[in-house]
């Protein structure tokens, strides 16, 4: 194992060096690095050109410059002679200074989209596999093929034009007409009946109920000006917390497990009590205290599970922790919503942003800045989410179908296990093995994958660094981008192989 890892690391370094050579030579020859200066009218044009040739060593051929650059990279690993040096951009900024900022911005952008894409995609994939070849399955297949076929820039432009402008315009007069209510009701009703399935009569009833409830809720929201002054309110918070407790218990333990009910119930009750008792603490919170509160909440959940205990203590603790985490999320969401009117004032009633990573010069507490991040990252996150989650749906659907055909699933059914146990314990876990590898590989490609989205939404991350460098034939930032992307790709491919062999003992690494 140790020799495998050592060999693998050695090979990876060689691969990195060779790839960087190709990349460097290609980037250096992709255009004229002096183009902007030669076209300029400044009086000291000649001196500027001389200076750039001197600082960037443009008089040397590209392979020699690559050697110089590689020497600088090597000093990052071996601290001899002046530390890390990845060169400078044409504006004389050190790439080592630009890279951390850009990487952080990109991580901020892609993390949520990635997590949501995996969770939603896998969940939807499982549901479609469980009802393979139903109307629901076909609709989801159609939608995911459609999303597959959309270029990311197209989604981004559409989101900007419709969601951002449309919602901002809607907020100017946030009342829904009867027609809009009817349309939303019909759409939601159709979707719900598709998910619920059943025979024709049942579908019609589901459709009618779901449609009517949707229309009613929207009508209520419209009448009470909810879109301008959103909040959940005590009743909805209680309903949400109860629903979360029910969902977690039913999913993890089954509805006939009394101890699980007690755990979920106590945790949800504590969350509701916190909602009424802890608002003062939330009002004066900072980002740090929120994280501490989340950790405390999970700890409380674990404790509840521990004390309810029983023969299955570990399971109870998991139920408690998950319920506590989700219900405290509801409480925080409610508090966040109540800052919305103040935030709208700050943005001249047009809250949804289409460019940038934050409103410049915004001052406010953690809730205002939280909302600001939300409105700026909503659209880029949506566009990343839409293009990537379709893939996970397809993969997990076919993975689940394959697993459900296995003999051990039949055995599990044959010995009379409840269907929930068969699906969650036997099928789901085995299906996750190939998905894990896929997720690890995708995570490696993630940092480099948001180039277009960053470009369209003007988020100054890695993609922007790369594109700006490419427009000017400025090689050092391009290579800086390459270093981060290549190292994450190599590392995560390696991790993917290791996790695969750890999860599936049949696979051995040599």
């Amino acid at each position: 194992m140790v020799s495998y890892i050592a060999r693998r690391i050695g090979v990876s370094i060689l691969v990195f060096i060779a790839a960087s050579f190709i990349m460097y030579v290609l980037a250096a020859n992709s255009g004229d690095p002096l183009q902007d200066l030669e076209g300029s009218n400044s009086p000291n044009k000649q001196a500027l050109i001389e200076a750039r040739i001197h600082t960037q060593h443009l008089d040397l051929p590209a392979p020699v410059r690559w050697l110089l650059w590689l020497g600088g990279v090597a000093r990052c690993v071996v601290p001899v002679g002046g530390g890390c040096d990845l060169g400078t951009t044409f504006q004389n900024q050190a790439v080592t200074q630009l890279l951390p900022q850009a990487t952080l911005a990109t991580i901020q952008l892609v993390t949520l989209a990635f997590v949501l894409a995996v969770v939603l995609g896998v969940a939807l994939g499982i549901i479609t596999a469980l009802r393979a070849f139903s109307g629901f399955d076909y609709s989801i297949t159609l939608v995911s093929f459609f999303l597959f076929s959309l270029p990311s820039f197209l989604i981004a432009v559409l989101l900007k034009s419709f969601i951002a402008l449309g919602y901002n315009n809607f907020l100017a007069d946030p009342t829904l007409s009867p027609l809009a209510l009817a349309v939303w009701g019909i759409v939601v009703g159709l979707v719900v009946q598709l998910v619920a399935g059943g025979n024709f009569r049942k579908r019609v009833i589901t459709f009618l109920i779901a449609g009517a409830v949707t229309a009613l809720i929207l009508w209520y929201m419209s009448v009470t000006q909810w879109f301008i002054k959103p909040s959940l309110g005590p009743v909805v918070v209680i309903i949400f917390c109860a629903a979360i407790a029910y969902g977690v218990v039913a999913l993890l333990a089954g509805t006939r497990n009394r101890k699980a009910w007690i755990t979920g119930g106590i945790t949800a009750a504590i969350a509701i009590a916190c909602y009424f008792g802890l608002q003062w603490l939330l009002n004066m919170s900072s980002f740090g205290t929120l994280i501490i509160l989340a950790v405390v909440a999970i700890g409380v959940g674990l404790l509840v599970g521990f004390f309810v205990g029983g023969y299955d203590r570990g399971l109870m603790m998991r139920i408690g922790a998950l319920t506590a985490f989700l219900t405290s999320g509801v409480v925080v969401l409610d508090r966040l919503m109540r800052s919305w009117p103040a935030y709208m004032d700050l943005t001249n009633d047009r809250p949804l942003a289409t460019v940038g990573a934050g409103t410049p010069g915004l001052n406010g507490d953690v809730w205002i800045t939280g909302l600001d991040t939300f409105t700026h990252f909503l659209l880029p996150t949506m566009s990343l989410l839409l293009i990537s989650f379709a893939g996970y749906t397809r993969y997990s659907r076919s993975g689940m179908l394959e697993v459900l055909n296995q003999d051990y699933v039949r055995t599990a059914r044959a010995k009379g296990l409840p269907e929930r146990t068969v699906i969650v314990r036997h099928a789901f876990r085995n299906m996750l093995i190939p998905i894990t590898t896929l997720v690890a590989t995708d995570m490696g490609a993630l940092l480099g994958g948001a180039v277009i989205t960053e470009y369209i939404f003007s988020i100054s991350g890695m993609g922007q660094l790369f594109i700006a460098g490419l427009f000017r034939t400025d090689v050092n930032p391009i290579m800086g981008y390459f270093i981060v992307v290549a190292i994450t790709a190599i590392t995560f491919n390696f991790l993917a192989d290791l996790t695969y062999s750890a999860l599936d003992p049949r696979v051995r690494v040599r």
Partner: protein
């Protein structure tokens, strides 16, 4: 609780497949023929293929190819006086094309001709990239998988080098360097950075197939390495190759349009669907048609290829089709159930043994009420 509902007529295509398969193999049909028939059974895939070819033929016949003129009276480079402020003159009812059916861009070029030219270029990039990348990938993967040892190690490390570099990045650099070469040059160069998936797939297929008896038999009979690779192993791995290259083609149009969108790919006065969107996205509110026509055709072409690829995958590997939850469990075959099962094979979860309980399945993903 009684027996399995295997004899229920199922709306899925699966049973048809199996029947057709066994019947046909009895008559002694070749593997290729069986797969072809299975593909033809997939209505969506066939329709997608027809639409794809139709769009291609339409775009070639409309503005012609190279020096040959098509039936449309404008070219994509010609400047025309603005008619109706460049708005589309296409009328569906009563049908009439008008002067500029897709409208005109800001300097008066006929947008129909531009879009058709964009389709031609995008399809050209898809096809050329798909063919070249498949050929490279098959050769690299076949040699690596067949000879193993140090050849395999070297070739796979080279593959790793190319995998480390993101395709969009190298595509953008290559496109910027070779933008002047036009669509064909761009396609060939992009192919050199997109063959890796196929090479890996072909290699793993070869690693498995080279151990089989028929390869041993061929070797004993004195066949050369090249003959074994191309006549004996490759035909057995062709399914994987075809499916992967179809998916590659679907990714190719997105890659080409993305690169052209960034301004590194195909350059004006030539036209590409991505380039048209990039040039006209600022006019989205004033002249939306400049955005919608290329967007429509990008999505249409990519969607068609994806559906064809999915159809091919199912034709080559119908394993997943055969799954039916109905057959693996014991449902309650009441009259209503039977009717239900016919209406939709949906039924996600069976009632647990004991039937009437609320079921421990509640709340689990896909817990359905359909079976009750």
């Amino acid at each position: 609780m009684s027996t399995i509902q295997g004899n229920l007529p199922e709306p899925g295509v699966s049973d048809g497949f199996e029947l057709a398969e066994t019947e046909k193999t009895e008559k002694g049909q070749s593997q290729g023929r069986i797969i072809f028939r299975r593909f033809l059974k997939n209505k969506v895939a066939v329709a997608a293929l027809i639409v794809y070819v139709a769009v291609l033929v339409f775009s070639i016949s409309a503005i012609g190819l190279g020096p040959i003129h098509g039936w449309w009276h404008y070219t994509y480079t010609q400047l025309n006086p603005q008619v109706n402020q460049g708005a589309p003159t296409l009328q569906l009812w009563p049908f009439s094309l008008g002067e500029h059916p897709f409208g005109q861009d800001r300097i008066g070029k006929d947008y129909f001709a531009l879009t058709m030219r964009g389709i031609q270029n995008s399809v050209l990039v898809m096809v050329v990239l798909g063919v070249v990348a498949t050929v490279i990938g098959v050769i690299v993967g076949a040699i690596a998988g067949y000879f193993r040892g140090w050849v395999d190690a070297v070739l796979m490390r080279i593959t790793d080098i190319f995998i480390v570099i993101p395709a969009l990045v190298i595509g953008a650099i290559v496109g910027r360097t070779a933008g002047g070469l036009g669509a064909l040059g761009l396609a060939v160069l992009l192919a050199f950075v997109s063959w890796m998936v196929i090479a890996r797939l072909v290699r793993s297929e070869f690693l498995a197939l080279r151990e089989r008896e028929f390869v041993e038999a061929a070797r004993v009979a004195g066949a050369s390495d090249a003959r074994i690779i191309f006549r004996h192993i490759l035909p057995n791995a062709i399914g994987v190759v075809i499916v992967a290259s179809t998916l590659l083609i679907a990714a190719a149009i997105l890659l080409e349009t993305a690169i052209s969108y960034l301004g590194f790919g195909i350059k004006p006065p030539d036209s590409s669907l991505g380039l048209l969107i990039s040039q006209n996205q600022s006019a989205f509110t004033t002249r939306p048609w400049l955005f919608w026509w290329p967007a429509f055709f990008i999505v249409l072409l990519a969607l068609c290829v994806n559906f064809v690829g999915d159809g091919l995958r199912e034709a080559f590997d119908p394993r997943q089709q055969r799954f039916s939850l109905k057959r693996t469990r014991e449902p309650e075959p009441t009259e209503e159930e039977a009717a239900q099962a016919q209406a939709a094979v949906a039924a996600a979860e069976p009632p647990v043994s004991g039937g009437a309980s609320t079921g421990s399945g509640d709340g689990s993903p896909g817990s359905g009420t359909g079976a009750r």
